[in-house]
């Protein structure tokens, strides 16, 4: 089955991100495919490569980055939701004259159209929210 996951929760704020990650891993282990991960609302914080959780806690953003890399997943971060929260890539940082960027490897900023396209192309759309 082909899944698209919508992640609305920030890491460590609620269980949405952790649940989505566990679901994604289980689905892939079971031979299903993931058409797209779509990070929206507070979920965009999962794409920051600057999160530095305590060493005795699960590094959730790093786990996402690793999963995306390992399975070559399409991971889209809603650009409007990300920019207003300070999650930004090099191109947008330049456009808005910001002194740095923080998007992790494997994530891509794009529009809500990517969510709409994914819903049309997937068998199941799953939302992980607060």
């Amino acid at each position: 089955m082909k899944f698209t996951l919508v992640i609305l929760g920030a890491p460590y704020s609620d269980s949405a991100s952790q649940s989505a990650l566990a679901f994604a891993q289980a689905a892939l282990d079971d031979g299903h495919s993931i058409h797209r991960l779509f990070f929206y609302a507070n979920g965009v914080y999962n794409a920051s490569r600057l999160a530095a959780p305590p060493q005795d806690e699960h590094d959730l953003p790093a786990s996402w980055t690793q999963l995306i890399k390992q399975h070559q997943l399409d991971a889209v971060v809603c650009i409007a939701a990300a920019l207003r929260r300070g999650v930004i890539d090099a191109t947008e940082a330049k456009r808005y004259q910001k002194d740095s960027n923080n998007i992790a490897e494997g994530f891509e900023l794009s529009g809500l159209g990517q969510l709409i396209e994914a819903s049309a192309a997937s068998d199941r759309l799953l939302t992980f929210g607060p």
């Binding site: 919508v6 609305l8 929206y40 609302a41 507070n42 409007a80 939701a81 529009g111 809500l112 159209g113 969510l115 709409i116 819903s119 049309a120 997937s122 199941r124 759309l125 939302t127 929210g129 607060p130």
Partner: protein
Amino acid sequence: MKSLLCISRHSPYGTAIAREALEAVLAAAAFEQNIALLLMDDGVWQLKDQQQPIAGIQKSLARNLNALEMFGVDTVYAHQPSAQKRGLNTAELCIESIEWLDDDQVRQLISNHDHLLSF
């Protein structure tokens, strides 16, 4: 074309989630998708008239709800028991075309759609 149902269950200004749900609905409508909106639980507060967000700090959500029709989302569904439980005055709302549903009708609405977007 697959049909989408967006369920919005949070009040309008306490968090950004209600606004971002509406933005997703408007985006889907702009891409000419078959999308419907259902407000339930605290989401029915989004329908309240006389919303007066703080100028310059918050934008009115009622304006986005009113834009739905222009984007081709003709009917907004709302869960009647949620409104009743909260004492929402259904005579004074910020939009006109609302279809009130009971539990069974919500169940049916959900099963009539291919995908759910749950906020």
